[in-house]
């Protein structure tokens, strides 16, 4: 492979190449930046580039490697970071005019862990305003640049898909890692609540927010999670549980694992025929690999989105309380309306939702025990992506919208605090990616990664790379 094509490697292959001195971090970065230059006019994944510091960090990484000092699998690897995470000395605006000019004086814990692990941060990736998912960001889907790239971790998903990062950090409060993973054709992990620190991340909800990786393969995801996971005393929601060696556990395979399928809930009438076909086939392939597929009915899933919305609305508005009053006009109107709505959630309603959440969580735990489940499997989303002009994320009207369908399939992971992984399992007839989602027991990320890794040993959907067409105009 020529130096200019190094961006095509997986994170694991790049790490092995660096460790074996077959190429340098500086060469890896230049290939990545060249790819970024080719693709950014079409997809606009980054809001802030950090080329100067990235080149400096790559040289430092090479210097350390030459001295035999290896910081781990991310040493010298170019990565992207969602612009919702604090980066010391680098503009952090969360996609909002409200934060124009804000430059943090410290790093989010996850950013610090990336740096400690030797990662080379290429830049900050585009997010919906404050990750609320109400506006349409400038980023476009690389498989069809007329289409929505998913969100709110839009730039993180797209940068990984096109190869302008080997991995990227996203955040997920109701599906914001898994939605872009699914529609951009990459792997995205929403970890267990408390597994990865959210210190230094602009919050939405203190009990729903999570931070996680987007990568091209399950193996890459395991490597990245291993670097960013772990207890952090700065985050009151961080949980002190041992961090597994996720990559080392991948070869354990999937024989004997039991995954439940709730067809009434996950394959309801809004699931598109091609999504249904691809995901059913993938589930049969998992069964052929040794997974026991168990038909289940879990009524506790149905109310999850209503519970989550009440909590999310009130929590998010509380954090924005001062900003809404002092700078309300600077928000995108749709974001502002959601913040105003959150101010109208009554205290008793909020407590009722949190009580319902506790009851439903107990029922889900009992169901996992009753069916002896290791997880659930389902389509990540009911549909593939759609043209941006047809995108409906408006939650103010009645009926199913794109956002409400995303929440239907994804929000339960946040409401119950359990891990969830999306990985590619096919393409529609018009060339748009389809994702398969696996939910797991708390802190069992290893199981989800093993399932995706086993599937990727017998499929090649994750190896396909988009060549985004150049767009004439950009919405910014």
């Amino acid at each position: 492979m020529s130096d200019s094509q190094l961006w095509r490697l997986t994170l694991r292959q790049a790490a092995d190449g660096l460790a074996g001195r077959r190429f340098s971090s500086a060469e890896l970065l230049e290939s990545t930046l060249e790819r970024l230059d080719q693709t950014e006019p079409s997809v606009h994944a980054y809001v802030t580039l950090m080329e100067e510091s990235a080149r400096r960090d790559a040289v430092a990484a090479d210097d350390e490697l030459s001295r035999g000092a290896w910081r781990g699998p991310l040493h010298g690897i170019p990565v992207g970071v969602k612009d919702l995470l604090y980066t010391n000395g680098v503009a952090t605006q969360a996609g909002s005019r409200v934060l124009e000019g804000f430059v943090p004086d410290h790093d989010a814990t996850v950013v610090q862990r990336l740096k400690d692990g030797g990662a080379v941060i290429v830049g900050k990736t585009v997010t919906h305003e404050f990750a609320y998912g109400q506006d349409v960001p400038a980023t476009r889907n690389p498989w069809n640049t007329d289409c929505y790239p998913g969100g709110s971790s839009a730039g993180s998903g797209v940068s990984v898909a096109v190869g302008s990062a080997f991995g990227a950090i996203g955040t997920d409060t109701g599906g914001s890692i898994r939605v872009p993973a699914s529609v951009d054709g990459v792997v995205g992990l929403k970890p267990t609540y408390g597994r990865v620190s959210k210190y230094g991340v602009f919050p939405m909800s203190p009990t729903l927010d999570t931070v996680g990786p987007l990568t091209r393969t399950a193996e890459d995801c395991a490597l990245m999670l291993g670097v960013i996971a772990g207890h952090d005393a700065h985050d009151s929601g961080s949980i002190d549980e041992p961090v597994a060696d996720y990559a080392a556990e991948l070869p354990l395979g999937v024989g004997g694992l039991r995954l439940g399928v709730d067809r009434d809930f996950f394959f309801y009438s809004h699931v598109a025929p091609e999504v249904r076909t691809s995901t059913e086939l993938a589930i049969r392939q998992l069964a052929a690999l040794g997974v026991q597929i168990v038909e289940v009915r879990l009524p506790e899933l149905e109310p999850a989105a209503n519970v989550g919305m009440a909590v999310l609305l009130a929590d998010t508005s509380e954090w924005h309380r001062r900003l809404l009053r002092s700078q309300g006009a600077k928000y995108v109107p749709a974001t502002r309306i959601m913040l105003e709505l959150g101010e109208m959630v009554l205290g008793a309603q909020y407590v009722h939702a949190q009580r319902a959440r506790a009851a439903l969580r107990a029922r889900l735990r009992n169901s996992f025990a009753k069916y002896r489940l290791d997880g659930l499997v389902c389509p990540t989303l009911p549909n593939t992506t759609m043209p941006v002009e047809k995108l409906s994320v408006d939650l103010t009207g009645e009926g199913e919208t794109a956002l409400s369908s995303f929440l239907h399939h994804c929000f339960l992971g946040n409401v119950f605090g359990i891990p969830a992984l999306s990985f590619p399992c096919g393409f529609s007839s018009d060339g748009l990616p389809i994702g398969l989602q696996v939910y797991g027991r708390p802190f069992q990320e290893s199981v989800l990664l093993r399932v995706a890794h086993a599937y990727q040993q017998v499929s090649d959907w994750h190896t396909r790379r988009p060549e985004p067409a150049r767009r004439e105009t950009l919405v910014t």
Partner: protein
Amino acid sequence: MNAKEVGPDVVRTLASVAGITIPEEDIEPLVGALRNHLAGMKALEELDLDEADPIVTFDPRWE
């Protein structure tokens, strides 16, 4: 309150109680959004929650 009973006046009253000033163009979408929220809360009324305490975090330890 029944979701269908929500109108602009209810939104304005709630905004006043919350202490926020809402731009006029936000009123109509907020009516729809508030109706959706109340419909969601109504659906939760049917759940049996006898065995559950709300999820809140309070740790009385000082260290």
